[in-house]
Symmetry: C2
Amino acid sequence: MAVHSTAKKKGSADKRDRILRAAIKVFAKNGFYATRVSEIAKAAGVADGTIYLYFKNKDDVLITIFEDGIQQLLAILREVAASEQPFDERITRIIELQLGLLEDQRDLAEVITVNLRQSSSLLKQYAAPLFMEYIDVIAGLIRDGQKEGAFRKDINSRVVARSLFGALDAILLTWALGEADPPSLRKAASHCASLFLEGLRVR
Amino acid sequence: MAVHSTAKKKGSADKRDRILRAAIKVFAKNGFYATRVSEIAKAAGVADGTIYLYFKNKDDVLITIFEDGIQQLLAILREVAASEQPFDERITRIIELQLGLLEDQRDLAEVITVNLRQSSSLLKQYAAPLFMEYIDVIAGLIRDGQKEGAFRKDINSRVVARSLFGALDAILLTWALGEADPPSLRKAASHCASLFLEGLRVR
DNA sequence: GCCGGCTGAATGGCGGTTCATTCAACAGCC
DNA sequence: GGCTGTTGAATGAACCGCCATTCAGCCGGC
């Protein structure tokens, strides 16, 4: 057997990926609830039942996509937040990376931003902690900047973090839903960065 | 005769309201898709079938809630945007009004922010235009401010508008989902206003 | 020929919607 | 004012289509 390298209880890891990628595509187009499991299967070139060899159920597929995406984002975020660059630089990089990461993954962007809100209590359970973790990383960076005098101190760091998150989310949403092209996204990112940096400047 | 004052084609307008209010409550708690029509009926103290006397179907209930809420918001927005106050003042007022309006309506806030994203193509159809209208009003105000030299001109007004919307949305979301008390919401509003105003200042 | 991954038709139940029935309110009539 | 016929809002049990999930078989590799 020598099952290549990837650990696996059963089935090829490749098939699992095919399913996930297909699911992202279909969820993005139709939304979670309107998506039939059979559609995911068809898009993945797989039988309906096969999905249940790799995932507990339909919810599990969405949760997996969501967690993977956020974890990816969190990893980058933490790295940048902890870097030794000037604070302004770090904020800018976070914004650019975050929007850039999803730039060639419209579908993933849409699944995350759109389906984050599908609030079956089940998903709320999963989304809330990750969301908080996310906010915490940014808020921590802001707070550090305030402590070191790089940012004004008269604004609550968590409010800034939430605002920044929301702003990026909204930009991403209109980009994902609309016709906007990648260049416009990058331009939006730099405008957004400038807006927040000026807003945070000590005067 | 003399049916009090409210016009009515059929049924009491009061009953329609009861249903809407109940639906807001239940949608907020469980999300649209997880909500059973029978739950709305029970919460409204009404039979299942009665709901179909006032609404075409379940979607129609959500759409009505959503449209009413946004229209309410848009009306206020337009008024403030067109007022003769200084631009800074107008922005601040918009932020405060918007958050304040929903302060004592947690459930409505949650339904709007959370279910805005439920992307059955049907709802996308309804949500997108209203969302755009909303963005347009804010973007218009920013653009006017830029033209008159109140705000810096090197930032795209639509990007600012989207960012502001997203920021408010995120603040509202954490407030609606979390335990935060009203005072904290008002404080968040003023911090957010300050952040954006400084960010927009001409230098 | 045996094992395990895979298949996809069959199933079961779930829940939005319908509609036959009820009955309170009202108008016309005496 | 009482009696009666009519209306249509309200009801809620039943219906029916849909779709997530299952599982009895089917390969294909060893």
